[in-house]
Each structure stands twice: as structure tokens, then as C-alpha cells.
């Protein structure tokens, strides 16, 4: 368990945050300049806070009150930079092996073979970093950090420098290392989909302060508590079970108590539970019988709340059969024309093409 409570001031920017991260992935989420990377660097020991305390389990990494400070190379915390930062003069195999020597023997619990297999980098071992693609570099960087068997893995926007296709190539690997190596991860991102997909807890940072801590569904939902959330950032997270994978159409079907969700791409296995992030801008509301439309996903629920303080838009929050909440943006005009009010039965239509694969657990590169 990582526990952070620090303050730091640099020129115009000030940071004052306190949060804890447990097992699994803790997402540090927020707009650029909110202090995410600074927090990561403080935890890694690359920068020092003006005041505060950071502990990892029982170990005090820094405590400005007592003057205790552990040097970065003794923290046993892995760091994956946004732009890999591989050693350019060493081949992939040597890059991967670099930190192993410094890991105390009893602590070496991550197996080289397993890491190479999970990250799919076996064929790259003799290559030089400059000959690798961005996605390959990032996978090697993750492997290099992982092979020191760190007690905590810090990932600073590991996908930000990659194009969408490469992102989808790496996301499943991160899910696998989260699940297979059981190393807690502090994951920095400004992408709602990535955070919703990977994190069990999300810490939302704004202007160097913690704005909110909770599950992705809670923190990433559009609320008055996070007024700076842009309308394209507001998402809902729905949890369902994979019932069918259709390779012919290239889609998967996820059963949710409120209806069937059609997801683009082939999910890994039937029966698995998945979380799906859906942007509030991608939900269409419909009353009465659904007309013949091309949308294959229609979820039934009731209007729980209509917030009209979003300029020309209204934010309609639906409560689905499962108790999950689904947020939808519509114009205030549409809300009035339909006469939508709290308690009304309503259907949510979601186009499969608008579901970002990055926001669906277990989805890799879409075929074709």
C-alpha cells in the first residue's frame, strides 16, 4: 500500500495531495499540468517534496518531518516513462537484465521468461532500441521495470506517445501484468477510457489538488463535484458478462441486466466479466418502442436526474435495472420536446462504433 501526503511549490504551480493506493491499479487522472507526473516523480524519489511523507507498506520513503529519505535506487519502485527511455547503447536483452543484478535474491519473484512471454518481446532480444517501434519500446520498458520485481510500479502516461492502434496493442499487456504479477500499479493518464479500463481506484487531480477519490464509475461520472470535467470526458462504467463472441461480424456481446451491449472487437473469452466505459456524449435517449434503427444496443432504465446547468445541454442520469448509472448528454431542447422527467422509463441507445476499445477490458487490436 502506497500512501502519499506531500506538498510542493515550484513557481506558479503548487501541489498539495494526499491519497493511498492499494492492490491493483490506482489511476492518477486529470488534465495536463495538474501535477500527475510530479506525484510520480516524488514517489520514485526523483524529486523531493517541500514537506510531507510517502510510505510504501511499512517503509518510509521520505518524511520531511524526521529527515528520513530513501534514495531512488533503494526504493524498489519501478518507473515506466511516457517515452520508454531505454538505454540506447544496449540491446533489448541487456536493457531487460539491467536492474536484475540489483534486486536482492529473495525478492526476485518475477520470472524473466514469464515477462518476455506476457509482453511478447521474445523476438526482439538482440535488437537495439532505435530499431524498435514505439509500442515495442514501451513493452521493453515495462518489462525492464517489471524484472526488478518492484514493490510498486509507476506508469507515467505509458501510452500517450503511441497511436491508437499501438495503445490497443499494449493495454491487454498491462491488464495481464496487473492480474498475473500482482504488483500494485500507480497509473497516470489523462484518458478516461484507459483509467476506466485499468483502475480499481481513481484519484482525480485538479490544479495540484485531489478533487476526488473513488471507483472509476464514481470519479469519472459527470458531477457537480468535478465541474471542470469537459463534456467529452464524462463517462459511465457498466459491468457485464461476455455471452457470445462473433468472429464473423467481429463483435462481442455483453449481457447487462438492462440489456445486451454490442462491443466492437473480439473479447478474450465468454463468461468473463468486463467493464465498459461509455461516454455520455455517445448515448442517445429514446422513449416508447424503439424504431427500426441501426443501433444494436438498447438499455432500459429510468430517469434518475436531469441536470440542466450545462449550457445548451442537459445531463440526464439514468438508473439501469442493475443499479448501474448511465449518463447521457442531450440538448435541453430535446429533453423538453420529449418531456423527460425523473422517474420516466427511457431507453439508452449506444452505437457500437462509438465505444472506444480502449475503454473495454480485454480488448486488443481490432482485426482489420
Amino acid at each position: 500500500m502506497i500512501s502519499v501526503a506531500v506538498t510542493l511549490a515550484r513557481g506558479d504551480f503548487s501541489l498539495d495531495v494526499a491519497f493511498e493506493g492499494g492492490a491493483g491499479v490506482t489511476g492518477l487522472f486529470g488534465p495536463s499540468g495538474c501535477g500527475k507526473t510530479t506525484v510520480i516523480r516524488l514517489v520514485a524519489g526523483l524529486d523531493r517534496p517541500d514537506a510531507g511523507r510517502i510510505t510504501l507498506g511499512e517503509r518510509v520513503l521520505i518524511d520531511t518531518a524526521t529527515g528520513a529519505r530513501v534514495a531512488p535506487h533503494r526504493r524498489r519502485i519501478g518507473l515506466v516513462f511516457q517515452d520508454a527511455q531505454l538505454f540506447p547503447h544496449l540491446d533489448v536483452a541487456t536493457n531487460l537484465a539491467y536492474g536484475r543484478f540489483f534486486t536482492p535474491k529473495p525478492a526476485r519473484r518475477v520470472e524473466t521468461a514469464a515477462v518476455i512471454e506476457v509482453l511478447g518481446i521474445g523476438h526482439l532480444m538482440k535488437r537495439r532500441p532505435e530499431t524498435l517501434s514505439g509500442g515495442e519500446k514501451q513493452r521493453v520498458a515495462i518489462g525492464r521495470a517489471l524484472l526488478t520485481s518492484p514493490e510498486l510500479l509507476l506508469m507515467d502516461e505509458p501510452l500517450a506517445a503511441l497511436d491508437d492502434r499501438r495503445k490497443l496493442e499494449i493495454l491487454p499487456f498491462i491488464e495481464r501484468l496487473r492480474d498475473e504479477f500482482a504488483i500494485p500499479i500507480l497509473y497516470v493518464s489523462h484518458s478516461v477510457e484507459e483509467v476506466a479500463r485499468l483502475a480499481s481506484t481513481v484519484v482525480r487531480l485538479e490544479h495540484g489538488r485531489v478533487a476526488r477519490i473513488g471507483t472509476p464509475g464514481e470519479v469519472l461520472a459527470p458531477t457537480a463535484l468535478a465541474p471542470s470535467t469537459g463534456r467529452f470526458e464524462a463517462i459511465s462504467v457498466l459491468t457485464g458478462r461476455v455471452t457470445r463472441i462473433d468472429p464473423a461480424y467481429g463483435v462481442s456481446f455483453v449481457e447487462h441486466p438492462a440489456g445486451r451491449i454490442v462491443v466492437p472487437g473480439l473479447l478474450e473469452r465468454e463468461g468473463a466479466e468486463v467493464h465498459i466505459a461509455i461516454r455520455a456524449t455517445d448515448v442517445t435517449l429514446a422513449l416508447g418502442r424503439t424504431p427500426q434503427v441501426s443501433v444494436r444496443t438498447a438499455l432500459a432504465g429510468r430517469v434518475a436526474k436531469v441536470a440542466t446547468d450545462h449550457g445548451p445541454f442537459a445531463l440526464v442520469t439514468m438508473e439501469l435495472a442493475s443499479g448501474d448509472r448511465l449518463h447521457a448528454y442531450a440538448t435541453r431542447l430535446a429533453v423538453d420536446d420529449l418531456g423527460l422527467d425523473v422517474g420516466d422509463g427511457v431507453q439508452a441507445l449506444i452505437k457500437a462504433v462509438s465505444i472506444d476499445e480502449r475503454g473495454v477490458q480485454g480488448l486488443g487490436v481490432v482485426a482489420g
Binding site: A44, H73, R76, F87, Y98, A141
Partner: protein, 228 residues
């Protein structure tokens, strides 16, 4: 082909140049690292002192060396009494003069290559558990190798050509302090010495060219090794 006096001057030049380069290299790396990576009060003063031999008339540098490292100089007396290290009118003095004159060139080249390294590569090494000295040896030095080689070759070439500071500090004693430039100078002052001066000039050009080729080859190798 060469008179024994000419041979002596050639060999002495090679010795003086190599020793001067080898001895100043670790110091130059340390100074370049401090200038590239550390911020402290008086940094521009240190920077200025390092560059002084580049801008001062060489004779002035030689005279300063005489004052500091001569038999009765501040450091000279101490080194002679405690370490038995005598500079004045010895080949060691020629090496010291050559090293001092080449030092700014060496520091400049190394500093530039150190500044070109992304410190986050070194930080990545630290988060992998490597202690600072290990990071320096396995990441910083290899990535700066091009600048180090370039700096060393520059300094070596400068040492071979160094004349003003050397002749002021340790004079022009055949077999002791007479390097190629001093020998050429002496030959041009002697009737019938033109042929010898020409020969030594060609040798000087040959050595300088050879040094450049060696550096080019090793830089290419380093580049293949460290595509920074």
C-alpha cells in the same frame, strides 16, 4: 632519415602528448560533469578559469605555470618536497603545459556530449536499482563516449602543437623538453636547418592526421555501440 635529435623530439612529443591527454582526461570528465549537471554559486567563474588557457596568450599561461609550478612556486615546491614531482625544465613540465593548454578543448567537447544526454535515461537506471556511480559508469560514460574521444583527440593534437607555454615554462632543452614544435623552431634558427624543419613539419602533420583518423574510427564504433 631522421637525425637522433629529431627522433628524440618526435618520441618526446608523442610521450608528452599521450601523458598530458591521459592525465587530464579524468579531471576533464569530472569538471565537465560538474559544469553540465550542477548549479552552484560561482559556476561562471569556474567556467571562466577552465577556459582561460584558450584565450590567454600562451606565453602568459607558461609564465603562470612557472610561478605556480616552478621549483619555488606555490605548488611546485610542495610537489617537489613531498612527492618528488619536479616540473621545471623536465619533460613532465612540458606535459603539464600541454595538458593545461588542451584542457578547455577537452572539457568543452565532453560537456557538450554530457548535456546532450536525457537525464531521464539516468533516472531510469536509478529506478532500476543502480547506485549513482554505477549509473555513471554504465550509462553516462558510454553515452558521452563520442564527446570524450573527440575531446581527447583535440587535446592530444593541441599538446603536439603546443609551443608558447612550453617554451616559457620549461625552455627548449634537447632530450628533455624539446618537442617537435620547439625543435622546428630551433632548426629554423640554425643555418641549413630548413630540411630538418620541413621533415618534422611533415611528421607533425602526419601524427595529427593519424589522431583524427583514429578518433573518427572510434567515434564510428562508439556510434554503432551507442546510437545516442
Amino acid at each position: 632519415m631522421f637525425t637522433s635529435e629529431e627522433w628524440t623530439a618526435i618520441l618526446l612529443s608523442l610521450k608528452v602528448g599521450s601523458i598530458a591527454t591521459a592525465a587530464s582526461l579524468p579531471v576533464a570528465i569530472a569538471v565537465a560533469w560538474v559544469l553540465a549537471r550542477r548549479d552552484f554559486r560561482g559556476k561562471s567563474l569556474v567556467d571562466g578559469v577552465v577556459h582561460l588557457p584558450l584565450v590567454l596568450p600562451p606565453v602568459v599561461t607558461g609564465y603562470a605555470l612557472l610561478l605556480l609550478f616552478g621549483r619555488r612556486g606555490v605548488f611546485g615546491a610542495f610537489l617537489a618536497d613531498h612527492l618528488g614531482l619536479v616540473f621545471s625544465f623536465r619533460w613532465t613540465g612540458a606535459a603539464l603545459a600541454a595538458g593545461v593548454m588542451g584542457f578547455p578543448l577537452m572539457v568543452r567537447a565532453i560537456r557538450l556530449s554530457l548535456e546532450a544526454i536525457d537525464v531521464r535515461v539516468e533516472q531510469a537506471a536509478a529506478t532500476l536499482g543502480a547506485p549513482p556511480l554505477w549509473v555513471f559508469a554504465t550509462v553516462t560514460l558510454p553515452l558521452a563516449s563520442r564527446g570524450i574521444v573527440a575531446g581527447a583527440v583535440l587535446a592530444f593534437a593541441k599538446a603536439l602543437g603546443e609551443f608558447g607555454a612550453t617554451i616559457t615554462f620549461v625552455s627548449n632543452i634537447p632530450g628533455q623538453t624539446q618537442t617537435i614544435p620547439s625543435a622546428i623552431y630551433a632548426l629554423t634558427q640554425t643555418p641549413g636547418g630548413e630540411a630538418g624543419a620541413l621533415k618534422l613539419s611533415i611528421v607533425a602533420a602526419g601524427i595529427a592526421l593519424a589522431a583524427l583518423i583514429v578518433s573518427e574510427v572510434s567515434v564510428r564504433r562508439a556510434r554503432r555501440g551507442a546510437a545516442a
